[in-house]
Symmetry: C2
Subunit: 117 residues, 2 copies
DNA sequence: GCCATAGGCAACTAAAGGGTTGCACATCGA
DNA sequence: TCGATGTGCAACCCTTTAGTTGCCTATGGC
């Protein structure tokens, strides 16, 4: 391993980035919002209310599934998609950590300035 | 106001999606990580350690700036970028709300099942 | 005033993304 | 059994994105 390089894009970044990217589309965010009530829905159901074809929605669902945000369960002739909060909780934790790090650094800076005339 | 229930893509989704999209790249995540210590850095500094050209990094920084995650401050001949925790805090709040909504719905479902033999 | 350094701008390429259409296939229900 | 419904698959299109190269401008230091 290369010793001292904690900064270059690492595996963890790749993983998070793929989840962020999956959420980086208004249609997909909307789909997630609908499924966050815990009730699984079919592709046909999820396609209702969008000015898009069923195929387009299918692709979006595929992206969300690849990111682990949704799971697909076949039931008879339909594919039901259900929400999984795990990945989004992870992101939330990560974002919280970064924000906290920033606030902490800022506080230290302020303290330093206050103590040095 | 934020607990999301919108059915189709709405303005709020567009805004959040753009921030999510900005974070949906490993290189950009890495840049954010570096700047989250609160210390502004120049493009040249930020370009170090990546197998990319300075121009590529410049573009990434532009994306992050457009999303409001970074701010640019010109200082002499260099452009300093500094971190702003606001957008990421918003996302964290949003993700937390969605997760909470899901857990709540799941709890209700369990309770319902327990009460109906 | 000179030169090295830091950035900005523009044009270009390759690949990924978002979307569509067309068609084949499985399954449900009367 | 038969038609309607729900999906899957593939090919295709257009736009965006990630990245490069080349060149020109501004600034800082000596």
């Amino acid at each position: 391993m290369s010793p001292p390089t904690p900064d270059r894009p690492v595996a963890a970044d790749q993983l998070r980035a793929s989840v962020f990217a999956a959420l980086g589309d208004a249609t997909r965010l909307s789909l997630v919002n609908r499924l966050a009530d815990g009730q699984p829905r079919s592709i046909a159901q999820l396609s209702e209310g969008y000015p898009l074809t069923r195929q387009a929605i299918t692709k979006h669902l595929g992206v969300l599934e690849s990111a682990g945000i949704l799971h697909r369960v076949r039931s008879g002739r339909e594919s039901l998609y259900e929400f999984d909060a795990g990945p989004m909780r992870d992101l939330s934790t990560y974002l919280e950590a970064v924000s906290r790090q920033w606030y902490a650094a800022l506080s230290r800076l302020k303290a330093f300035i206050a103590e040095n005339p």
